[in-house]
């Protein structure tokens, strides 16, 4: 026989259980709302890689036959991140090398591993201002596909430096790595141990029989 006291105790405990369950559900919902709100306010990885509306960039495309660089304008969507912007611009340049009608043919799928920026201390830059040094990390595949010779290798470096300086004028110096490592030459000729001045590479003249040049 169940006593009256036990019946009251059972109902009280039942009500307490239901109340606690409701309270926990409410806490869970509030925590979920708070996490969602944080996720909405913080930039997500997708947002970082999201690209803006197409912008016009200038690519300096080399021509092996007359040792010239031709400025070609192209409209591309650039990411917000500056390092990624430089990489995308240079990848578009490598795409121009790869094109069937390329004047500087190179059969390489992806040429740029990454681009980093370092501040150049005032007074150490030969161009006068501080500016930035871009460290272009080329892929081993690009170095492998690069035709060997002073002219083709120099044209590759000049086109990258001129393209970078044209689109990111703060870049005053450029240094090259291959797969993250220092390397003596690109493909047996052009020196990769030195740091190049980016600004002077934009004064490109046209080569012709008897006159002109890089």
């Amino acid at each position: 026989m169940i006593s009256q006291f036990q019946k009251y105790l059972f109902f009280i405990m039942l009500v307490a259980c239901v109340t606690m369950a409701a309270f926990l559900i409410r806490l869970r919902n509030r925590a979920q709302d708070r996490l969602q709100a944080q996720a909405m306010s913080a930039p997500s990885e997708m947002a970082e890689t999201a690209r803006s509306a197409p912008q016009t960039v200038t690519l300096y495309v080399p021509n092996d036959l007359d040792d010239s660089l031709t400025a070609v304008e192209k409209s591309i969507s650039l990411p917000a991140d500056r390092n990624a912007q430089a990489r995308v611009i240079l990848e578009n340049l490598v795409e121009a090398y790869r094109a069937p009608e390329s004047t500087h043919p190179m059969n390489v799928a992806s040429g740029i591993v990454d681009v980093y920026f370092l501040a150049v201390p005032q007074g150490k830059d030969e161009t006068g201002g501080g500016g930035q040094m871009a460290v272009i990390d080329l892929s081993g595949a690009l170095a492998q596909a690069q035709p060997s010779g002073i002219e083709p290798e120099t044209l590759t470096l000049l086109s990258m430096m001129a393209t970078l300086h044209a689109n990111l004028p703060a870049v005053t110096q450029v240094h090259f790595l291959v797969d993250g490592q220092p390397r003596e030459t690109l493909a047996g000729h052009a020196d990769l141990t030195r740091t190049y001045l980016a600004a002077e590479q934009t004064s490109v003249q046209r080569g012709a029989p008897g006159a002109g040049g890089l």
Partner: protein, 248 residues
């Protein structure tokens, strides 16, 4: 770093010391003083013979040994073409009475510093590095991309060429004219290529590329011996002209 003068006295190579010594300047002959009137004339001592400066051309065949250079096509390597052309140029220049020093005469791999040491030791009036490539057209002439500086007795090894850039550009211009006269397309450029920047002489890198057919030229591969001879003859003619221009 050690000073090159002490290094030279001890017979140590300049490159190892990290400095390059510029060739000594030619001292002009001492002026003759006018003789006082009334003083009996005595036979003046024979003025010392002023030897004209030696005109030496240094020819550096790029690559060699394990460093094969570019693959030119049909299994031909750049090191073979450069050695062949350097040999032809040496013979042509010697036939014209020009003294020639070569960095290599066989299939050996020389370090860039060794090449520069040979050229600097020879005190070359002109230094040419021969290259070959499978891309482009005609002949590519390159001089150092270093900014010209004043000549000093001791130059840092890695940038010694900076004191000779102006002369290198003049030499490049002579070769450009001679090649244009031979109807060979030429392109001029500045580049950073070893061992050019360590040389203390007017230095030009001559890179031979295939000849693309045009309205005045017919297509010729780099391996075409007649094309190579045409280039060598033009370069030799330019160096003969340089022999009378290089001290100016």
């Amino acid at each position: 770093m050690r000073w090159i003068e002490a290094a030279a006295a001890l017979g140590i190579a300049a490159g190892a010391a990290g400095w390059a010594q510029s060739p000594p300047a030619q001292n002009p002959p001492a002026p003759q003083l006018p003789q006082a009137p009334g003083v009996p004339s005595v036979p003046s001592p024979t003025p010392p013979q002023v030897q004209p400066p030696r005109f030496v051309v240094v020819v550096d065949a790029a690559h060699g040994g394990a460093d094969t250079g570019a693959q030119i096509g049909n299994g031909v390597l750049e090191k073979e073409i450069t050695l062949g052309m350097a040999g032809r140029l040496r013979s042509t220049l010697r036939a014209r009475g020009i003294e020639v020093v070569t960095t290599r005469t066989g299939d050996v791999n020389l370090a860039p510093a060794d090449r520069a040491e040979t050229a600097n030791h020879a005190q070359g009036a002109a230094c040419l590095t021969i290259h070959a490539t499978a891309t482009g057209s005609g002949v590519h002439l390159f001089t150092s991309s270093l900014t010209p500086t004043a000549n000093t007795r001791f130059m840092p090894w890695g940038t010694a060429q900076s004191a000779y850039v102006t002369q290198s550009l003049k030499l490049e211009s002579e070769i450009d004219s001679a090649l244009a006269h031979a109807a060979i397309p030429v392109s001029l450029g500045r580049a950073s290529v070893e061992p050019m920047d360590s040389m203390t002489c007017p230095e030009v890198a001559v890179e031979i590329a295939p000849l693309v057919g045009g309205h005045v030229t017919s297509a010729k591969p780099v391996t075409d011996v007649s094309y190579q001879k045409q280039v060598v003859d033009a370069v030799a003619a330019a160096l003969e002209q340089w022999r009378s221009d290089w001290r100016q």
